[in-house]
């Protein structure tokens, strides 16, 4: 930033203002959503690296001698090893589809798909931060880290996201930490084959996670009729029909077919798949994500 460029400074200030405007509502909404789920610092209910006592177990020959808890062993004839609960933090990658198609909503009564996805992602991030996990976005902008500062960073990025053309928005598998978790929030109206490749590649790196298809009610019901020209959200392509109502049956068939493929992909990668409609409350989706991410240890 050039200090001599007042115009640039003004632009920055404006952007900052816009960011400050957008961030609190997003954070507030996400917090409100996350507040309903009580997490807190809790162990993994298995032995591992941690601070809390987990259990005593008899020492096995392969155990190092220094791990023997002599105080406990003195009370009996056997050697015991004091194990602590595993408290190592998990890395979770959140991936929110930035493609233009996410900026759609068919009615003022429910939010855009992208907005819903960002709120869900941030709410998950809040939960993760509360749980002390490491979290980040599934690209190089915010690698997984723990802590409150990371939450601010993630929130800032999510609030400021500009839509990308469908083709450019893709899961960056290279940045995924192996063995981490991933949450993919998308409408999956992009290239399904590429998406399959990426998910399988991530799975190959030991990443497990969940796919959540966020759809608008209009995308599920196809409530159109009459002579209509459909246009991509990015304006890249058009499709004209004389009687939109006549396409409904086949559209719904195709949508189901695509979902079947996603379901199959999830099964193949060992991931979870669900659908979330934007006219439904986000809480159900958040609970589902929480369960899936927490349970898929």
């Amino acid at each position: 930033m050039s200090p001599a460029g007042p115009a640039a400074a003004a632009g920055l200030r404006q952007q900052a203002g816009g960011l400050a405007d957008a961030l609190p509502p997003l954070l507030a909404e996400a917090r409100q959503l996350a507040a309903a789920i009580q997490t807190g610092e809790h162990g993994r209910r298995r032995a591992g690296v941690g601070e809390e006592f987990w259990q005593y177990r008899t020492a096995r020959p392969e155990d190092e001698a220094r791990r023997i808890d002599w105080r406990r062993s003195a009370r009996s004839d056997q050697f015991y090893i004091r194990e602590k609960e595993w408290q190592a933090a998990q890395s979770v990658h959140l991936w929110v589809d930035r493609s233009a198609s996410m900026n759609f909503r068919s009615s003022e009564r429910w939010p855009e798909k992208g907005a819903r996805a960002r709120v869900l992602a941030l709410a998950v991030a809040i939960l993760l931060e509360r749980a002390g996990e490491r979290f980040g976005l599934a690209d190089d902008r915010a690698p997984p880290r723990a802590g409150r500062a990371q939450l601010g960073r993630v929130a800032g990025i999510l609030a400021d996201e500009a839509p990308l053309p469908e083709a450019e928005a893709a899961l960056a598998t290279a940045t995924l930490v192996s063995g981490a978790r991933a949450l993919v929030l998308s409408d999956f109206f992009g290239d399904i084959d590429r998406m399959s490749e990426l998910v399988l590649a991530a799975a190959a790196r030991g990443v497990i996670g969940a796919l959540m298809q966020i759809v608008d009610p209009a995308e599920e019901d196809f409530p159109f009729a009459g002579r209509t020209v459909f246009e991509m959200m990015s304006g890249a392509a058009r499709h004209e029909t004389q009687e939109a109502g006549g396409l409904r049956r086949r559209y719904i068939e195709r949508l189901a077919e695509r979902r079947d493929r996603l379901q199959a992909l999830a099964a193949k990668a060992g991931w979870q798949f669900t659908i979330h409609r934007t006219d439904q409350p986000p809480m159900a989706a958040l609970v589902w994500i929480h369960t899936v991410l927490g349970g898929a240890r």
């Binding site: 198609s101 996410m102 759609f104 798909k113 409408d187 109206f189 992009g190 608008d216 209009a218 995308e219 196809f222 409530p223 159109f224 009729a225 009459g226 002579r227 209509t228 020209v229 459909f230 246009e231 991509m232 959200m233 304006g235 392509a237 058009r238 499709h239 004209e240 029909t241 004389q242 009687e243 939109a244 109502g245 006549g246 396409l247 086949r250 559209y251 195709r254 949508l255 695509r258």
Partner: protein, 933 residues
């Protein structure tokens, strides 16, 4: 160009050719489907490659196509300028002649006819044509000069129909005296055929187009009143079809108090196709004698009125003979011939004088009664002096009673000489005497004397200076045969021969009956023949105008009987009642034997109905239709393209829902309207009226007028409540027949033309109402009472309605009337109109202005009626929000006028409630002064 039998025409018909382009538009519309909607939709990826199943949807849907075609057609029709009931444009721009029959047959709907005539004149003037007007019934000399018509407008506005029909001779004159050159004619015909009409029409057709305007309703008329077997019969003519299917004929006459009342009514079914219906009244003789006229209810024309004269009146005649009837000598009985001659035409009363007098006969005939007992003679003389007609016949007893020095009797017209005379008998010289021709001036003048009438004996009159004046008929030697003298209001007639054939052949001849008739003893049921009336002169007593109203005759000279007997009314012999001596003769519009038929017109005549609807441009309506279709098209397009969907969840149900809403709403409204008319009991209304002060208005039956009166009184009540201590309740509609008027103090009575006259009972109630302090404000609503003559239809109707009301003499409200200062000080009394002439009860003639007092001390009583024509209710009328309901005047002046109208209303109500209180107030200064002393 016209459609539907001339009902619809077009101002620019060539535009209709554009309709031929509709098929092309059809094709164009068909291949141009509605524009698509552009939708951004992420799910489009799923749509790629999908083909439309139905390719026909690419064309315009048929419903849309139809709507658009109708839209275009409506637009074309609209710009072609459709006109409902287009006036037949009279081609040519030459001179224009207006002809009007203006006979009695026009009177029933004269205002419409006059308006039509005025419209024709205005149209001709607009077109710049020279106009002339010809009133066929008007006796004025012919003047057929074409002018620019400016002078005609005033003449037409004042044109009234005549009670007679245009004469054949006059129409013949006109046919020959038509101006040279070609001209077009518009004939406002009364629809009746008459001699000379076709000739004139033919002459007019020869000069140019003849357009005839006739009311399809046609005139109805009454004629040929007779007395048959005790029934009054008449004929009702309805020559033209198209009128109402029923008529009601009313017999009217004077009641014992001398007020004209309806005596009987009979409905007559008018068979279409029949031109004549028989009307018959079966009345008791007492009632029948009172009938003065028959009229068709609701038909204000002279033809619908049939005046009755002697022809109808069966007189009561008492026959009195001396002595007891002698058995077996019937043909010698002095009464036999009288009875035979009189019985068919009169009601006979026989018996002694004591029996006959209480029956109140009009005529007493005494055959050969010499002397009466003193008491009887006095009573008979009294009866004669009160107007009775005593006819005496001589005979042996009378001759014997004449003493040696003659006989003087107040009940004899002449003094009789002693000793009668006998000629041509076996014991006398000379031949029997014949009757001399009747002298001019005698009531028998014009009767021919048959040769076989011979007189063989007679009583003789004492010669005296006045004998010649008393003689009505004499023998060929100059001796009197019939003498007459007045006695009081009545008269005494003496036949110097016997009533039987003993002394003369007179009773055997027809002359006997004629002479009795002439003496008004027996009016024949048939009209007097011409010969019976020849030589008499008749004086008009009451004349009928074209509307059938009778008025005292003025400026009409005597009419010779022969002409009157012709029964054809003429300008110098209008229909009405004529009198000559004792007899009266009713000259009615229709002569006996005259039948009415529809007018026949020569070929080439354009005939139009009078009530042809006004020319009405339809362009606006058709354009509105086009706009509506356009809206429908927009809606249909929205629905078909699915654009309505995003806005309203269920697009396909929108039209259905709209339809259901509209129909359901309408049905609901109808239902509510039906149940809202909850019947309120009369009693509750009257209780409310009696409980406080309530203004009432008379129900006229015309819903618009009633509504206006109600609104007007509401407004006045509101203003009264606002400004004065009078706080009236909601005004009430008063049904004169049903409601008790005693609870009201003030009635507003707007005059509506089609208001039926109240019944006799209602009049009685009204009179009681007026006598007991109630007031009626009559409002003719025509602003034209200033003329005072009731020239408007409303004015005439008011006169008819108020005829039976007990109304004192009226005068135009004087400047010092109490009404001018009962609350506000007022000079004018405007309503919606500003006529100054308001009529109130006349001040007593002895009212004088007291010294030092600005007003006369008058109107001790409150005027029971106030009559005007300023349409006050309209000025008072308020809607429910208190805003004026009808416009009054213009701008500020209009507001001022409305304010003054309210002030007049307040003054009026104050006047009703406080009477002459304000008038008394003028004495207050004097009283105060006296108190101070």
């Amino acid at each position: 160009m016209t459609l539907f039998g001339g009902m619809i025409g077009f101002t620019t018909p060539w535009l209709l050719w554009a309709l031929a382009a509709l098929p092309v538009i059809w094709i164009l519309l068909r291949i141009v489907p509605p524009a698509p909607i552009l939708r951004r939709f992420p799910g489009i990826v799923l749509l790629f490659g999908l083909k439309d199943e139905d390719s026909a949807a690419a064309r315009t849907p048929p419903l849309l196509l139809l709507i658009r075609l109708a839209l275009i057609a409506a637009a074309i029709l609209a710009f072609a300028g459709p006109v409902l009931n287009p006036a037949a444009k009279t081609e040519g721009r030459g001179p224009f002649l207006l002809v009007a029959d203006a006979s009695w047959a026009d009177a029933a709907d004269w205002s419409a006819r006059r308006a039509r005539l005025g419209a024709a004149l205005a149209e001709a003037r607009r077109a710049g044509r020279a106009v002339a007007f010809l009133n066929l019934a008007d006796p004025a000399p012919l003047d057929l000069t074409f002018s620019d018509g400016a002078a005609l407008e005033a003449r037409l506005a004042a044109l009234d129909p005549m009670a007679w029909e245009p004469g054949a001779e006059r129409m013949g004159d006109m046919a020959t005296a038509l101006p040279a050159g070609r001209f077009d004619t518009l004939w406002l015909s009364d629809g009746l055929d008459r001699e000379g009409k076709k000739g004139l029409a033919t002459a007019l057709v020869a000069r140019g187009t003849l357009q005839v305007i006739e009311s399809p309703r046609g005139a109805r008329a009454l004629g040929e009143m007779r007395l048959l077997d005790g029934k009054v019969t008449a004929k009702l003519f309805h020559p033209l079809p198209g009128g109402p299917p029923q008529a009601v004929v009313i017999a009217k006459g004077l009641d014992p108090a001398g007020i004209e009342r309806e005596l009987a009514r009979t409905p007559v079914a008018l068979t279409p196709g029949e031109a004549i219906e028989e009307v018959s009244f079966d009345l008791p003789s007492e009632l029948r004698n009172r009938v003065t006229r028959l009229e068709i209810e609701g038909e204000a024309s002279a033809g619908a009125v049939l005046l009755a004269d002697d022809a109808l009146k069966r007189r009561k005649v008492a026959l009195i003979a001396s002595g007891t009837p002698q058995e077996g000598l019937e043909l010698l009985s002095p009464l036999h011939y009288l009875r035979k001659a009189l019985a068919p035409n009169v009601d006979l009363v026989e018996g002694t004088l004591a029996d006959a007098l209480p029956a109140a006969p009009e005529v007493i005939v005494m055959a050969d009664v010499a002397r009466l007992p003193g008491e009887d003679a006095d009573r008979l003389a009294e009866w004669v002096e009160e107007g009775g007609l005593l006819v005496r016949f001589a005979g042996p007893r009378l001759a014997a009673a004449v003493g040696l020095d003659g006989m003087r009797d107040p009940l004899l017209p002449v003094t009789l000489r002693p000793g009668g005379r006998s000629v041509g008998g076996t014991m006398s010289w000379g031949a029997p005497r014949t009757v001399a021709p009747f002298a001019e001036g005698s009531p028998f003048a014009g009767l021919t004397v048959p040769d076989e009438v011979k007189v063989t004996a007679q009583v003789l009159a004492e010669p005296s200076p006045d004998l010649a004046d008393k003689v009505l008929a004499s023998l060929d030697d100059g001796t009197p045969l019939v003498t007459r003298a007045a006695l009081g209001d009545g008269q005494v007639v003496l036949f110097h021969v016997t009533a039987n054939a003993e002394w003369s052949g007179l009773p055997l001849s027809g002359l006997y009956v004629s002479m009795l008739d002439r003496l008004a003893i027996s009016s024949q049921p048939n009209r007097p023949a011409e010969k019976d009336m020849t030589g008499t002169v008749w004086q008009a007593s009451r004349l009928m105008d074209a509307y059938g109203a009778l008025a005292p005759a003025e400026d009409i000279g005597g009419v010779p009987g022969a002409r009157l007997a012709g029964n054809i009314p003429a300008p110098d012999m209008p229909p009405g009642l004529y009198q000559s001596d004792e007899r009266s003769f009713a000259l009615n519009v229709l002569a006996p034997g005259r039948t009415l038929g529809p007018a026949r017109w020569p070929a080439g005549t354009v005939i139009e109905g009078l009530d042809r609807a006004e020319e009405r441009p339809l362009k606006g309506w058709v354009l509105s239709l086009a706009v509506l279709l356009m809206l429908a098209d927009v809606l249909a397009t929205l629905i078909l393209t699915g654009r309505l969907k995003g806005r309203l969840g269920a697009p396909r149900r929108v039209p259905v829902a709209l339809f259901v809403a509209v129909v359901g709403g309408a049905a609901l409204l109808g239902l509510m309207g039906g149940t809202a008319r909850a019947a309120e009991t009369d009693e509750a209304r009257l209780l409310e009226a009696a409980g406080g002060m309530v203004l009432g208005h008379v129900v006229t039956g015309d819903p618009r007028v009633d509504e206006m009166a109600q609104a007007g009184l509401s407004g006045l009540s509101a203003i009264l409540t606002q400004r004065t201590s009078v706080e009236p309740g909601a005004p009430m509609a008063v049904d004169l027949e049903r409601d008790d008027l005693s609870v009201f103090t003030f009635l507003y009575w707007p005059i509506s033309l089609n208001q039926p006259a109240p019944s006799v009972e209602a009049y009685r109630k009204l009179n009681r109402f007026l006598q007991t302090g109630g007031m009626i404000l009559f409002d003719t609503r025509d602003a034209d009472l200033a003329g005072g003559g009731g020239q408007t239809p409303e004015g005439r109707r008011l006169q008819e309605l108020a005829a039976l009301l007990d109304i004192p003499p009226l005068e135009v409200m004087p400047k010092d009337h109490v009404l001018t200062r009962s609350f506000y000080l007022l000079q004018d009394f405007p309503g919606r109109h500003t006529s100054r002439a308001i009529w109130v009860e006349a001040a007593p003639p002895d009212a004088e202005q007291a010294e030092g007092v600005p007003f006369r001390n008058l109107n001790d009583g409150v005027s029971p009626v106030v009559i005007g024509g300023n349409d006050w209710a309209s000025a008072w009328a308020m809607d429910e929000y208190g805003n004026p309901a009808y416009p009054v005047g213009r701008g500020l002046a209009g507001d001022r006028q409305r304010e003054i109208a309210y002030r007049f209303g307040i003054n009026l109500v104050m006047y009703v409630l406080t009477g002459n209180y304000k008038s008394d107030q003028v004495h207050v200064p004097a009283l105060l002064e006296r108190l101070g002393q």
